[in-house]
């Protein structure tokens, strides 16, 4: 079971990710609504994984990734993003994020994204390669 920090300013997205994580047998340790909360929560909980929105008020996801990686270079952060934010996804990866997932969020996408980062949770569906290679 992974301890996960969810970062998103949208309540419905936090709920959706929370629900899916439970179905997958993982646990949310904290729901943060902006980048600064994420940094503070990361320092406190040291989660196995972070799901990070890109566009948020106060502090965006890219800045938060940089700061979290500054705290812990081995942090595992997956960006949650919409189509059309490819440039920002690339910036996030350059900042240290390990993957990304396109909205709308589904159980399959989240399971696949987790499996790409944690091999022990990898799914076997070869058709579901993350689209990161297409960037």
């Amino acid at each position: 079971m992974l301890n996960v920090l969810i970062v998103d300013d949208s309540l419905i997205i936090r709920k959706k990710i929370n629900t899916i994580l439970q179905k997958l047998g993982h646990k949310s340790v904290f729901d943060a609504t902006n980048g600064q909360e994420a940094i503070d929560a990361y320092a406190k909980y040291r989660p196995d994984l972070v799901t990070m929105d890109i566009t948020m008020p106060d502090m965006d996801g890219i800045t938060a990734v940089k700061k979290i990686i500054g705290q812990d270079a081995s942090a595992k952060i997956i960006m949650v993003t919409s189509h059309g934010q490819e440039d920002m996804v690339i910036q996030s990866i350059q900042a240290g994020a390990v993957g990304y997932m396109l909205k709308p969020i589904t159980e399959e996408k989240l399971a696949q994204a987790i499996g790409e980062v944690f091999i022990e949770y990898a799914t076997n569906d070869e058709d579901d390669d993350l689209e990161i290679d297409e960037l």
Binding site: S82, G84, Q85, K103
Partner: protein
Amino acid sequence: MLLESLILQAKLFLQDDMGLSISDVQTRQLQQDTLTLKEYTSMIGVGGKINVMVVISYDQEMLEKLVELFMDGESLDPSEEQEIKDSVAGEVVNTIMGLALPTFPNRGKGVTITPPIAINNSTNLVKQKSSKIISVEIQTNCGTLSIHAIGAEDIIK
């Protein structure tokens, strides 16, 4: 140009992602300066190389269906109902805008979008003199979604 892309992505989102059936799509250019909003509305500002305001308004049936679909079978806590509705309204406009962005000229490079803003308890938006309001009504088996683009006509059309 921009509106066609928004209509296409809205239809794909409603049909493919939400599983709704679309029965009719109607486009009209408003002659008046004032846009009358439905009960639930969310908007996004598009900036950079294109300056347009995109407003999506939902009737009650449509938003309630979208909330149900987003909640994925989870029950709705009454204390969170308004925030959930605002959140879903925002996510839908954000998703449609995000899907449309790569279809803009130069794949949308140089175009920025703001986080979605919920508009509650407001019935009208009044445009500036030089801009136009072009509206699209997408009717589905579960209510109507309206897209309004406010800006220069040559950019919207």
